[in-house]
Symmetry: C2
Subunit: 510 residues, 2 copies
Amino acid sequence: MPHAPPATLESAIAHARKIALIDSTLSVLNWDERTGMPTDGIEHRAEQMQFLTGMVHQMRTQPWYGEALQEAEASDLAKDPSSEVGCNVRKLLRDYRRDVRLPQALVEALSYATTIGQQQWQQARAANDYKPFQPSLDRIWQLKREAADTIADGRSRYDALMDEYEEGATTATLAPLFQSLGDSLQQLIGELLESQSPPSGGVLERFYDVADQSSFCRAMCQTLGFDFQRGRLDVTSHPFCTSLGPNDIRILTRYDDHHFSMGFFGALHEAGHGLYEQGLPTAAFGLPAGTAVSLGVHESQSRLWENIIGRSQGFWNYAFPLAQKQFPAALSDVSQDTFYRAINRVERSLIRVEADEVTYNLHILIRFELEQALIDQQLSTSDLPGAWNDAYQRYLGVRPSNDREGVLQDIHWSAGLIGYFPTYTLGNLIAAQLWEAAQIAVDDLHEDVARGRFEGLLRWLRTHIHQYGRRYQPHELVERATGRPLDSTPLLHGLQRKYRRVYGLDPPGS
Amino acid sequence: MPHAPPATLESAIAHARKIALIDSTLSVLNWDERTGMPTDGIEHRAEQMQFLTGMVHQMRTQPWYGEALQEAEASDLAKDPSSEVGCNVRKLLRDYRRDVRLPQALVEALSYATTIGQQQWQQARAANDYKPFQPSLDRIWQLKREAADTIADGRSRYDALMDEYEEGATTATLAPLFQSLGDSLQQLIGELLESQSPPSGGVLERFYDVADQSSFCRAMCQTLGFDFQRGRLDVTSHPFCTSLGPNDIRILTRYDDHHFSMGFFGALHEAGHGLYEQGLPTAAFGLPAGTAVSLGVHESQSRLWENIIGRSQGFWNYAFPLAQKQFPAALSDVSQDTFYRAINRVERSLIRVEADEVTYNLHILIRFELEQALIDQQLSTSDLPGAWNDAYQRYLGVRPSNDREGVLQDIHWSAGLIGYFPTYTLGNLIAAQLWEAAQIAVDDLHEDVARGRFEGLLRWLRTHIHQYGRRYQPHELVERATGRPLDSTPLLHGLQRKYRRVYGLDPPGS
């Protein structure tokens, strides 16, 4: 932008709001690309996104803007980093300092490469063939290495990238936490899979009409509290949630008429993200005080609604009769208990997004390990499919027989999202700890869930998480909400308790 | 944009291409708004569009850009206005000279007012109540008056606005042409409505499943030549066609399960626009050589496919068996002749977009007259509904009983499209004249249409209209394609011949 207004905080904030207008326009372009843009439209779309991304970068790195923020930081205004203005000033300045290091050409090249990359990933996945996609993926990793080196500032490349998604997270703290969680989970999985009465998932593979699934998902998302005047639910090939504006939050899932869980838990998961976005202060949209604090905390919201609520006995006390009504052919001869056990079946499986709660974190461990090897070029993108398959063999005891079941299953790398996967496990850890706290703080929580009333829980989350935006560091926010630092006990104990019961490994009544 | 590159033609063209990237991004935002954006998203959307519109205006009015174009115009490069470069230079300069007159604040205010206006129009229409919409509409007319005064340059306000859509069109030439056409049509309508054997439209009001309508429309659009790898067909409340990129042309219609014509002819109409957009030179996307020449010529394409092809006996020789197959319950007991006569029923009706070919132009005459009165404040927006109803009484002999049937039926004014309606009648005139020429030039044209083969006609349109972009003035282009200046004989004679036959007013075999 050509104008350089007087370097006041007010003008800097106005500038940041303009940046948010373009950023949210980019979200519209991306949403549209992923909901049925004509195939041949991709090149022009990539040019649009590259151009706007370049423009945003230029706006983000205006010297007058940095000066205004710096001045404001030194003033009394920003003394309290957890005040609205303090949060805005400090985080905008933090973002500015990172942005000025990234050359515009690199930012634009990344935008173009990842827009094309996502399209090529989709084609490669449809064709079940990694090879033609590999050069495009390789280019993306190379650009991300450059970006990481530019902002690393003494940190490892991987830590520098991860910090973009989860401020303060480092490999040094996550690796041992994840490793010990992984060990305990592998032990639990071993126990469960030796059970004499494992649940069967068969009822979930009956015929569920897609239009009925869509109605049911919509109704359930609404019941949880998702506001359809301020959002919508659509279909895509890789579920996600995106904010096109403070009052335009979009969630997307995918359906298969013989796979109930995929559509339903996909929708619930994204609704969890959507509830967080709808709970942020709208007046601060696009400013740090109105932005989600981290991907880990974001994922805690989706996991809480998807798993802790959505896969609970209590929730289905309420929802199962409704499901039977919506899908009489599939469910009228099924008991709630059979259904409940079916949606909680643990399996050594190949696809992350369809994995159960227990094995899920092993899928993340695999990606966490591969990403560290790839970013430092200990592993090449050519050798990636083999390394992927070996890691599945090692961690999960199963081996993909083709690329679609293996390395092509996730969109992330094609979109340049590297260092992003660990936030999924962080989300699981945070969700379990938040749930522990909510059970103490919210009156009648279990009774309410069983009656399909979620206002109490949502209000607690709004009060303790959503309303703060980026005012606290992710780990501080969790500590304030739960009264203690994050650890893996709530998740691990929760899973052990629940799944030993589902698998009949506990004495009855325990 | 801050950078002022050396004022060469190359940099000016590169700049114009960047402008096209933002313009087409605005088209994405508009398409999205009109295909199901959450209601509460409107305010942020209006801010996004206002901001990008302002930015485009700023880019369009850079002095260096104007200088570069001016220099190029004076050079040998642009000597031939019908060459690609000559066309680009002259038309970009023409646009530049207009744009520099418009204050940025006015452009932004218009963008905001019309984004909000369209949303309010939708709400008013749903509520069937003009009053709450009137202040918003009034503001839009006021802003358009200001815009017209700024660019008028000695012309009347109305002519200045009309020239944006149809270069060279003036009230002085259109008014008598339209008036005499209107007189002849009223005479023809009188004749037809006295016929003893008028067609009945009843079969079109049977049940046509919306999903089946959508499949049928899609198949027919594809058969005409619309490329779905480079486009899509969607649903909206007011049909339109929009270009999101050179290979991303979107057409939209609406369906009613008891109203076959609305969905089907809506789709065919928009496909006609879409075929023009898909036929423009893609490499020049967003530049004058790659842009449609005028709205009148654009409308001639939609009318040709919708009416001249889509409502012809020949087309239904091919399409009727397919329609019977798609809608067996509605059409198996219907003869092709009954169906053909039903889709060509002439009626004094209230809704423009549902009007038949014969009365259609009277709907336009009404708007042409009202717009001239409104722009010069001889008529106020408060008195508009009454004036509208009176005009319908006078021209068509029917009177709307409410606002939805009356003044609220069209989106145009709420979108700031004033001086746009006359191009619809121009389109009808041009379509008839093009068709006359195509019948002589294209071998086996009638036989091909009756066999569902449209390549020959499409190729002729691509060669004589589409490929030229804005290289010729609209009237020149028509004259080059048809060998003579535009006049109303082909349309009028075509309608007289066809409809006297449909209404049994000619001796058999004539």
